[in-house]
């Protein structure tokens, strides 16, 4: 199964801007769990630039071997099975990059992320991006750099927009601490749900709130 690779490469994204954004939010020396860590290049980048410790989680054999080759800790596991192997609050941050849209149990995974980590960092392709909307307006399922698949072979089963995600967070006691919207590596300020191709969020629980209901 290749749906959870979650690497920027697989998503066809420029690597550095996302990495830089995430690195900017990761405190030096933080303890990180990177879900769907791909070949481990983000973790390696964070190790080298932010001196983090932690683990990646991957399902594909190729990526597990690549992570080991990259010198990062990787645990082969299916994210759909949950994060029961991890104690609550055992990580400073849990990262889920370009993977949420491919998950069957979206709500459960977000709940688990904020159980295991103090904060979550989540990135995903924006289905509200104007190029996506334009292709839909022309009557076709969108194919783009961020969504490089055809309708019949896509691993992405839960496509959503920035507005959808933010509404989800409000309804699930998730607080958005920061947001960065990018298109082709550049930061988008105006009309992000229209001009943004991909988004990165830093999240935690609303103080005193009940954990996200599953």
């Amino acid at each position: 199964m290749t749906t959870l690779q979650g690497s920027f490469k697989a998503a066809g994204l420029p690597r550095r801007p996302d990495f830089d954004a995430i690195a900017h939010w990761v405190p030096r020396g933080a303890r990180i769990l990177d879900l769907g860590c791909g070949d481990g290049s983000l973790l390696r980048f964070l190790k080298e630039t932010r001196d983090v410790s932690g683990y990646g989680v991957e399902i594909s054999d190729e990526n597990v071997a690549a992570c080991v080759g990259n010198g990062v800790n990787v645990l082969q596991s299916d994210l759909e099975a949950g994060l029961s192997g991890f104690e609550s609050g055992s990580f400073d941050q849990v990262i889920l990059s370009q993977t949420l849209q491919a998950m069957k149990h979206t709500e459960r995974l977000l709940k688990e992320i904020l159980r295991v980590g103090r904060e979550g960092i989540v990135s995903f392709p924006n289905f509200g991006y104007w190029r996506v909307r334009a292709q839909l307006a022309m009557g076709r399922m969108p194919v783009s750099r961020e969504l490089p698949y055809q309708w019949y072979d896509t691993p992405n089963i839960h496509l959503f927009t920035l507005a959808d995600f933010e509404s989800f967070c409000r309804g699930h006691a998730i607080r958005i601490l920061e947001r960065l919207v990018l298109t082709e590596g550049r930061v988008v300020q105006a009309w992000p749900n229209f001009f943004g191709a991909t988004a990165v969020y830093r999240l935690d629980h609303v103080a005193g709130a009940r954990p996200v209901s599953g």
């Binding site: 080991v68 800790n73 645990l75 596991s77 192997g85």
Partner: protein, 379 residues
């Protein structure tokens, strides 16, 4: 070790060495081994810093002969030869690899068939029960004698993996990387049950003579044979057995008798017969007991995480999906305990069909992983 001619990827011709220890070794059971010998082999060259040593721990029926072959017996290829050699995942151009027959073994190290200096007769039933911890202590003494302060890696599969794990607990400052393959943190009741049936097969063999069969000039072959047949069933997966033997009949039709009819019967009998000619019954009994006794959590209120609290090594844990003897869930227990201690660990679950024996196969995904891990070990 310098080898003039060798096939690509193999260490080529190797030879065992013996080393004597005359400092008594206090065993977990309370018994003391006054003196003993260990037989070992080495491949590759120890570097000037003595920082490139790798210890390979063997499982139930294996030995110090891990890689290469013997000049006078070229068909006797080491049991993990596919993993170890120049350019192989455990690269002997880079690492100095040591295989050692464990104390109580029957491949040259002091064991139940050795002469007990106190009596001048084979130890037999008097040979003490040994544990994984005892083996690790004996291995540590071998390392001392070879001038190896710390191992770049300790590697093992199955019972060998338990020794690797124990190394990280007993000598945390002497092992930098631990490769724990097809392991369990302790045996389940089912695992112990299989071992007990194997032991009963041996001890109830009339030729066993309470363990002192050497003096009677006999070997409890029937018991060893049954023990091995049973073991073999548990090392293979149902699928692997179906794939390899299915319901194939040797004669193509039922014979309505009790001679070999199905291919699986033939295979098990062959494996059992072969085993009974070279393996020592007392060693088999003791190794299965060492398996049963292994439980690092025992002195820590059942907590494996507490047992591993002092570990400093980095770990690579590998399991195989079709291994029902030590299933992936057992390896995940080890991973969880390492995570709880915030230790560096990578874990892979190889989708291999061979069952427990998969750790001995040269599955490319498995070997690629070990190669990548070993290549990243800094010396």
């Amino acid at each position: 070790m310098s080898i003039e001619t060798r096939a690509p990827g193999s260490v080529g011709v190797v030879w065992p060495q013996d080393i004597e220890f005359d400092q008594p070794l206090a065993l977990k059971s309370g018994a003391v081994m006054p003196a003993y010998q260990l037989r070992y082999e080495t491949y590759g060259t120890l570097n000037a810093d003595r920082s490139n040593a790798v210890l390979v721990c063997h499982a139930l029926n294996a030995s110090h002969h891990v890689a290469g072959w013997y000049e006078d017996d070229p068909r006797n290829v080491g049991w993990w030869d596919n993993l170890i050699g120049p350019g192989r995942p455990v690269d002997t151009d880079r690492f100095f690899v040591i295989g050692v027959n464990n104390l109580g073994g029957c491949h040259g190290s002091t064991g139940p068939a050795s002469i007990n200096p106190a009596t001048g007769r084979p130890w037999g039933s008097a040979f003490p029960l040994v544990t994984v911890e005892d083996w690790v202590e004996a291995q540590a003494r071998l390392a001392d004698r070879l001038g190896i302060r710390s191992f770049a890696a300790v590697i093992g599969g199955s019972l060998g993996a338990m020794q690797a794990l124990q190394w990280s607990i007993s000598h945390p400052d002497r092992v930098r990387h631990c490769l724990v393959i097809a392991a369990a943190p302790r045996l389940s009741a089912q695992n112990i049950a299989f071992n007990e049936v194997a032991r009963q097969a041996i001890t109830t063999d009339p030729d066993f003579h309470g363990g002192d069969f050497y003096e009677h000039g006999v070997v409890p072959r029937r018991g060893l044979r049954l023990a091995r047949m049973l073991g073999h069933i548990t090392y293979l997966s149902d699928d692997a057995m179906a794939e390899k033997f299915g319901r194939e009949l040797r004669a193509g039709e039922y014979k309505f008798g009790f001679d070999v009819e199905f291919e699986i019967e033939s295979y098990l009998r062959y494996q059992g017969d072969k085993f009974s000619t070279y393996f020592d019954a007392n060693t088999y009994l003791r190794i299965t007991k060492a398996l049963d006794y292994f439980d690092p959590s025992l002195r820590h209120g059942g907590s494996l995480a507490a047992a591993l609290a002092g570990a400093q090594a980095r770990f690579l844990v590998i399991s195989f999906t079709s291994d029902w003897r030590f299933s992936p869930a057992r390896s995940r227990e080890i991973v969880k305990a390492l995570l709880d201690n915030r230790l560096d660990v990578s874990y892979a679950e190889i989708d291999a069909p061979h069952g427990h024996d998969a750790f001995l196969m040269d599955d490319p995904r498995y070997h690629r992983l070990i190669a990548a891990y070993m290549a990243n070990i800094s010396l």
